[in-house]
Amino acid sequence: MIFSFDLLINAVVSGILIGGFYAAVTSGVSLSFGILDIVNIAHPAFIILGSYVAYAVNSSLGVDPILTAIVMTPAFYVLGAAIYQVYYASFEKRGQESLRGLAFFFGLLFITEVSLVLYFGVDYRYVDARYIGPSLHFAMLDIPSRILVPCLVSLLLMAVLQLFLTRTFVGRAIMAVAQDQLALRLMAVDPIRIKRIAFGISIATASLAGAFLIIIQPVEPSVGREYIGRIFAICVLGGMGSLPGTVIAAMLLGIVESITSTFYGPSWAPAVSFGFLLLTLAVRPAGLLGR
């Protein structure tokens, strides 16, 4: 372990930037698990799906991945709404969500991942864009723009989501549905519809997160599994549904992972996020800014 201030600063900055990206990745689960209490363990698979869609369009038409993702958002929204409808009819209505709902999403995770393997194969895929390649240099800092750009767009996404949740009627209804469904009904709002919208948005964020992912690193179908731990760790640590909390927790995790990776080697990285998760669950299930 060679300790150098340069390395440390770069690791921390890199961690913060990656953290911004992690926040976008987690935002969907903050909605589905943090607010709606739906354990969508398949979320990473949808992110990878988003990555592949971006890749496919990028490699055949040369379109910028983030642009592709934005265009594909409605499709992902519809997918999310459809999945929620099935989930609700099969499990939530019957009170079976603990075992069978979980198994349902687990099955979806595998179906998505294996379908991608069968269609695209197991080779790593990557995209081409103007901002992939160049780096920015500030004094001793070395910031690749392929990490900077997704981070900035991620934070923008988080801001938009937060505004939506706090300033719009539907957004506030989503926050309310977690707390008091009966009150919502009395206000002539159908909680099921609200939850469907929320879950649809949750999967829609996966489209964008997928584009960010494939900009930052090459992707192959099983990459999603690494993110299961990260996503739930950040979601729980961030206070289950608090978007600002998610951003802070994500950056925290990013920094710790980055430092561990720089000084101890990347093979310990998975243990960091999952270890974080265990620690959080053991010590403070309410997270940092918990409700």
Binding site: R94, Q96, S98, F110, V114, L277
Partner: protein
């Protein structure tokens, strides 16, 4: 049927299966059969915690892998240099002990968490364990470990047939244990944990202790299933040994077969395991997981009580005919959280 009788019946069936396989003459039967028997143990073990108690364990692979890696560790320690090969049953007991202890520890750390958090925690634990093993060079780390499988063993002859026999005996043991639990006070206790843990506590059921018993038994059985694996496969690699594939199978088989009794995991493992073996040979192994995933999703939506549930519905038992213990109706009022 009393337990000793049941055990004898199982052993008789097992002997018949073994004899029939020998008669077929093709050693591939033993290779495939080993995997199916292994899944019988894994799904039965999973079901003790998942089906009986209602606690979903995503980390089955970790317990399986720990059993396998105990064998590797012992192999590197003793067998490689001194050529003393520890007998398989002893290896299984050691693997079972290691995984059982880890199961107990995991339970102690995570069983205070409610449903979904517990499931996620088990996944986290599995990855942490995997990372520890990957970084442990003694057992090969990420490079993997080679085990030399002996050619012959007296009096069975071909070593692979021996492995199949051992695994089948373990499967018989697992199913018998599961059945014994079901018919005992422990089984009733497990059912109350699944139905309403709060009410169970108020009724005098020591829920934490029972849950720890469940995780320990479950973990130990999975570890015992993993112990012979290095000898079966010859080359052990953390990525595949700890793979989520074991997790999805050990969840899918009981859910498809039926979670409320020992019959379900058995049916699920035999059917799904055989299906996967056929698919691997005829199509590809990637399609395997697609099949499992699809079947899991379909069954969980359409037939929540699995194949066993479908059979019961088909035979149209009236609720009164049922002694009432193992019938979870999908339309029943949901469990109170």
């Amino acid at each position: 049927m009393r337990t000793p009788t049941f055990l004898l019946v199982c052993l008789a069936i097992g002997a018949a299966v073994f004899a029939a396989s020998l008669a077929l003459g093709n050693d591939y039967i033993f290779f495939a059969g080993y995997v199916v028997m292994q899944y019988v143990v894994l799904s039965t073990a999973w079901n003790i915690l998942g089906g009986y108690c209602g606690y979903v364990n995503f980390g089955s692979a970790a317990f399986f892998a720990l059993g396998a890696y105990s064998t590797v560790a012992i192999y590197k320690l003793i067998t490689e240099n001194d050529f003393y090969r520890m007998p398989m049953p002893v290896l299984m007991l050691i693997g079972g002990a290691v995984s059982g202890v880890v199961g107990l520890g995991m339970g102690y750390l995570t069983l205070r968490l409610r449903g979904a958090f517990f499931a996620i925690a088990t996944l986290a634990l599995a990855v942490v364990l995997q990372t520890l093993v990957v970084n442990w060079d003694f057992v090969g780390g990420s490079r993997g470990a080679y085990i030399i499988r002996p050619e012959q063993i007296e009096p069975i002859g071909n070593y692979i047939r021996y492995l199949f026999l051992i695994m089948m005996l373990l499967a018989v043991a697992a199913v018998t244990i599961a059945r014994m639990i079901e018919h005992s006070r422990l089984g009733y206790g497990f059912a109350t944990i699944r139905d309403d843990e709060l009410a169970a506590e108020a009724s005098g059921v020591p829920t934490l202790r029972l849950k720890l018993i469940a995780t320990t038994i479950s973990g130990a059985l999975m570890g015992m299933a993993g112990a012979p694996f290095p000898y079966y496969i010859g080359y052990l690699q953390p990525a595949s040994t700890f793979g989520l594939d074991y997790a999805v199978n050990s969840i899918a088989m009981p859910l498809i077969g039926g979670t409320t009794s020992w019959v379900g995991p058995l049916i699920g493992a035999v059917l799904l395991g055989s299906l996967q073996q056929i698919a691997t040979v005829t199509i590809s192994s990637a399609v395997n997981l697609l099949i499992v995933g699809c079947l899991l999703v379909i069954f969980v939506i359409i037939a929540p009580n699995g194949i066993v549930g479908l059979i019961h519905t088909y035979l149209q038992h009236k609720p009164e005919d049922f002694v009432g213990r193992h019938h979870v109706d999908a339309d029943a009022p949901g469990r109170v959280p």
